[in-house]
Symmetry: C2
Subunit: 286 residues, 2 copies
Amino acid sequence: MLKIGILHPGEMGISLAASALQNGHAVSWVSEGRSPATQARAIQFGLTDAQTLAQLCAQCTLILSVCPPHAAETVAREVLACGYQGLYVDANAISPQRAIQIGHLLTQAGIAFVDGGIIGGPAWEPNRTWLYLSGPQAQEVAACFANGPLMTQVLDEIPGSASALKMCYAAYTKGTTALLSAILATAESLGVRAALAQQWDREGNDFTAQTTQRLRRVTAKAWRFVGEMEEIAATFQAAGMPGAFHEGAADIYRRLAPFKDASATPSLEEVLIALLNPSAERQNDG
Amino acid sequence: MLKIGILHPGEMGISLAASALQNGHAVSWVSEGRSPATQARAIQFGLTDAQTLAQLCAQCTLILSVCPPHAAETVAREVLACGYQGLYVDANAISPQRAIQIGHLLTQAGIAFVDGGIIGGPAWEPNRTWLYLSGPQAQEVAACFANGPLMTQVLDEIPGSASALKMCYAAYTKGTTALLSAILATAESLGVRAALAQQWDREGNDFTAQTTQRLRRVTAKAWRFVGEMEEIAATFQAAGMPGAFHEGAADIYRRLAPFKDASATPSLEEVLIALLNPSAERQNDG
């Protein structure tokens, strides 16, 4: 039985914590500075409140970082500053270069590092969510989730591989949702949105309806996809491919970021207004 | 019965010419400067050789421009220079702004203009290929294809609408093929291509196999998609959306352009080599 720390139990993180609990491990979290929603999740699943990061670092031998991409490096540096000496898993949607950089930082200070990448939504059902792992101690991390709905796969011993896979996978799913957002907004602006929907419908599937749902539903998560798209753009560029696709996608998600914490899923028309009038939306948000 | 001129009877153009012939119209082409493949197509379908553009312009009352996007404006200017006085249809994959600009140029000289956009491959089967039309005389053009496999739809009386629809439609189909090319090349470069294929295969469809085929097959057409992606980028930007997605796509198709006139469809590995070593490929081509 390991003492595992989770930073932080958001919607994804809590599902990983639940899988670890199911495997007989103890899971701690840090209440300091977290939202009431996170607090509620941690209490619901019986996580132990370490209260401060320093106490979590002192108590745990494995720390799992599951946070928005733009916060990944900060979280790692904070753990480092606490003098942590266990195993650290970064499971965030960051470029392999950034994962390697975080790994260097930590291993230089005697912290063991495993790179992770999560594909799929929160892990409540088997065969839906995969935690990919790479690094010398990847197998040790995978063993923590041997039973339960979260699937794991060790790629190799090289930190960066798990992040690379996550970047390539998300490049399509989140990249195309952003692209479709830009297409529908362009079609709306040029007065051909109905004709485009009709052409799509001619192809005999429900592409128009699916696209409408994708645009409406992505709005709640768009704020944290901005950083992920920037990480993918950096990944592509480092591989000699154009970063432009995901720079465009980051631009789109930035326009949709004001929907964070919206009380209801917006209509397609509201999504298009936000895309076509980004400055007005930002003012509303400010 | 109308005398229709087609510029030029490429793979798409010849199918439109065939549909017009099927409707009882006479169709002329210009042999001067065309390839043996185009010549063979024109002879096979019984098109009348006007030999020079000047003679085609003197003989025809309707000219249909079906050419690569980067050539659309040049073709229009050449027709203008011949003193043509009939109806001109630009059916090319160009931005609505460029279509409007070509329209202005021609109508100022007394040439009637209809904007067109073709969605689908060469029109040999019904309900597969749509010629969208916009402009005051759009109905007149549609009537030329009333019978036969080519479907037509008049959008409105405003030149630019048909091009706008074409741009928005192709933004997804050709945009995602380019995106998938960049993704597979990045995955290859980072050593996670097999893992990505495995993850795609887990989702229980043939996405990996389909993607491989899309990449291999697009190589023959990539040279003319460069201009189309640039037109889409311009369309998006004019609508206030990011042009970056299709600037990235243009970059990808530029790397694949050397496969023009390749004797065989390349393997996926050959496609990835061209994507990851664009300068080497360009040298081979030069």
